[in-house]
Symmetry: C2
Subunit: 634 residues, 2 copies
Amino acid sequence: MIKKYTSGNPICTEAFIEKYDSLNISEFPLVNRVENNKFVFEFDMQDNDIVYGLGEAPRGINKRGWVYESFCSDDPFHTETKSSLYAAHNFLMLYGSKTFGLFVDFPARVRWDIGYTSTNKTVITIDGTDFDIYVIDGSKPIEIVKEFRSAIGKSYIPPFWAFGFQQSRWSYPDKQAVDKVIDGYNKANIPLDCVYLDIDYMERYKDFTVDEQKFPNFADYVKEKKEQGIHLIPIIDAGVKKEENYEVYEEGIENDYFCKNGDGSVFEGGVWPGIVGFPDFLRKDVREWFGSKYKILTDAGIDGFWNDMNEPAIFYSTKGLNAAIEKASSLKGKNLDLSQFFNLKDTFLGLSNSPADYSSIYHTVDGKQVCHDRVHNIYGANMTKAAGEYFEKEFGNGKILMFSRASYVGAHRSSGIWFGDNHSWWSHILLNLKMLPSANMCGFLYCGADLGGFNENATRDLVLRFLALGVFTPLMRNHSALGTRDQECYNFENSKDFKDILEVRYRLIPYLYDTFCKASENNDMIFRPLSFDYPDDKIARECETQLMLGDECMICPVYEQNVSGRYVYLPEDMTFVKLSGENVVTEKMTKGTHYIEVSLNEVPLFIKNGKQIPLCKPAMRTGLLDRENLEYIY
Amino acid sequence: MIKKYTSGNPICTEAFIEKYDSLNISEFPLVNRVENNKFVFEFDMQDNDIVYGLGEAPRGINKRGWVYESFCSDDPFHTETKSSLYAAHNFLMLYGSKTFGLFVDFPARVRWDIGYTSTNKTVITIDGTDFDIYVIDGSKPIEIVKEFRSAIGKSYIPPFWAFGFQQSRWSYPDKQAVDKVIDGYNKANIPLDCVYLDIDYMERYKDFTVDEQKFPNFADYVKEKKEQGIHLIPIIDAGVKKEENYEVYEEGIENDYFCKNGDGSVFEGGVWPGIVGFPDFLRKDVREWFGSKYKILTDAGIDGFWNDMNEPAIFYSTKGLNAAIEKASSLKGKNLDLSQFFNLKDTFLGLSNSPADYSSIYHTVDGKQVCHDRVHNIYGANMTKAAGEYFEKEFGNGKILMFSRASYVGAHRSSGIWFGDNHSWWSHILLNLKMLPSANMCGFLYCGADLGGFNENATRDLVLRFLALGVFTPLMRNHSALGTRDQECYNFENSKDFKDILEVRYRLIPYLYDTFCKASENNDMIFRPLSFDYPDDKIARECETQLMLGDECMICPVYEQNVSGRYVYLPEDMTFVKLSGENVVTEKMTKGTHYIEVSLNEVPLFIKNGKQIPLCKPAMRTGLLDRENLEYIY
């Protein structure tokens, strides 16, 4: 049962597709108040209650004991004490002494103090008084999730080949680099379906251009790769380069498509291309225009994209940078004291994604000027909608791979997400795992983290262990940053271990794809916390290093360095399976605590009694998989 | 058996107190070469070999699978991909197919590639050709450690009261703040022995001054606190403020005690006091001078210090800052492209601890000018030696509490260390645990991390779990940064839980102090990896979440949020003990894997069969402990 409470005049986010009658906020059942023009509400928790939700967010599956903020943030340091990542997924669920779900439909900041200030109290602060809150009643978490998911609409399903293994890097700047990657995988006999084009494929970072020097005859090249079974996936950034004779920019200026300053001039921010205009994706005409630009690349044979920098990330604004330089100049020849020094340093540090810049940007919503602060969290989702609406119209559903960095609930209908610029940290294996069920709750099924870690240098064993989790994530992509160690599987010693892991992925694809489609169809989760299935088992309730997958399995990656295995908790008798290349080793294990040994080239998995999962033969491309002849393990 | 190999003319670090005849480096038994004036040597590892060592360093007890650098660094982000922390502890030990120890006695950079580039190879690069390497033969890790420790001299023993609980914060700036802390602890009936004075107690951050406004009649105040059983522990920074009529600075100038630029002028860096001179602690006369200044505070009754910022940390140099401002000014009115923007931003970001600044500093060693780069890693250790030599002369051994942020082997004879500016991260509980045996190997017995975490906001449960590990660390100090949430125990809800944890500490102090003194006397470790005691037990060999403590116990803190316990591995039958306030619950447990429940107010501990440990009654101060009437648990 979903009830909708409305306060003031909310901006429509299109998160929900089902319509509910609005109840007046005065009837809202939780303790609440308005403070400084913010709506604050709260509920109590008992010691053993669990709080789920918030989708792509820092920390655990159980969100208790921290304060989070819904504010799409380009912040690559995903440490424990961060409050925001790239997404704003405003779904929360209390489970225990009371059980209910909440969705705060509000496109600006929302603060979630979940037992941080006071251990047994959740206090939610909405940064305004124009919003909808949906309250979802139910007795079981999975029922609440399904009801919520049903109301927000079915999740995006990507093409089948998007379940293949994907290799990315910032950057493979030209065709030689791309060919080298494909060649490396082919020679190592490691399966591969996609290679990514990060920003350098473009001409001076201009959206919807391809650098002719680097990729001569691009359409032919795309076709040639597709004949080899490889999809090229170019990046599209939110900002459009300010450059004379650049058609997209000039059209944007002509038609007044860009976000404004308060005085009506175009807001200018610095991102990869240098100065850009930010399309005002909140306008339908702008979305139609921007969406239609993807045609330039789909006409060249491209059938997959990733939308980036759409929080939006802003390295600096022209006005911010000028002010900083002005401040530095004024200090020339003076003896700075320490506070002046820190103030100056912080001025330069604070140029990126600055609150002052965000506050100075204006959108047009329903014909009215609206400050960016009020709609920040739906900017990226609307960029994705621009593409999604175009793809659906032009190609129908599920033909184009599309995922985004920034997102809001609703975007799950037309796109997946990746979890942004993580690090080559062992702790990020578990962070990846923990985000999976949370993202599923909010409708994002096609998702995954940068396997091996994006920032900083990875070690061989880290990449192998990360991939062994990635075997199960719908988006299975290895991605790494400029200046870091080469992270392609074939670049490490003894690439046979990587082949063993990736062949397991391809063997599982029929099962994973089927599980995915069913979850989308039934508004179900692919990944569930153990507590959903074993609510009365105390150890299972608290377990955040294992996940239930579909109806059949439990996954439990190894997530530490220099170990030959890990502890695992079985809430019931199960079959322990180790998969490696075409090898399958099974062992019946009993309910309880075990230490399992797992080699670097093995993928561990538990199958529930009475269940079985299908495996096909491995192949070098998803298109070569024989999906008819399946072997069943149990 | 220790052999010393000498190359060139090493700078004497005084790490060793035993003298060995030098063998020529040509006889050095490991594969080696000189490349670009660096000495590079290597050894192979088998899959199951373990590499121990490096003392205070990032990552695991087993150092395999990463590249480390000995370079004392003021870097507060102790993430997994860092290579250096504040110390340079050049002891390494291979254990497995071959077993030996190494100490690289060299005061500049040393790079340790321990299976990072190539999984089964360690490659060590010494940034020069003037060094000693000691090779320690032996068959058991503990024997190698003891032989090494014997050669470097007995570890510092602090006063007994330094085992009491210590509360710190940046900052308790005045006597009112200090009194509030003591009052808070007293009212909550939580034991306490020390309160720390961070930089704000000084007059404009000038070493060896006390701000009269904040602490009128300081000596009387120190005396009053001591009568309450509370020791005040002031900080001393490496840099001496440049200020007219400030005696310490003027003496330094008069006597030419400060580090120089290449042209012989005094090097000026910006730190907390603004512009400072850095005493050239490598000179004996400078150490004697600086050490004698501590008398100003010991005369006021102070009997404990912490030496900080002695890597040395340099926020900026006058010349670096001027160049950055100059660069910014030159860009005024110009349209910057992205690379110019990043270059400018990075210029300001790079002002702190800049390699260019370090390279421009000169010391006087044996009458010769020596570039700081060549002696960087012994600067802080020599600052501590300055204090230690004074204290020993004036008060004898073990009377003054002294610990340092930067260190080098050798400093362990006159001081402890703390592990620097960590974070309020759950992962830092384990990082703390993992550093303990590594630090012990290198002679540092009196050590500990900032409990609850220094940077960013802590949660109540994190502080409790952190403290439950800290119960066992010789230095048990809660410390937190300016601008973070109040972290004193009495400031959290239900302070009774904190009382329960801290009373356990006080009950254990007789045992912990005795274990400490024996370890110092016998050149032994207090904390050992399980692998030292159970070398043939595979799970124990790899375990890095539990430690052996003394001859009697195994410790196993809970290190995750929102859990009621943890997995534990018992390499043999043991007694599981839960301590909470005066409560003791024991349970016999069998060898193997278990899940143990531990409440937030409990300290878990395992006692080996046939062993027992003494407990005294809790008290509010160490001085009130009845060390004669002991209860034994087993």
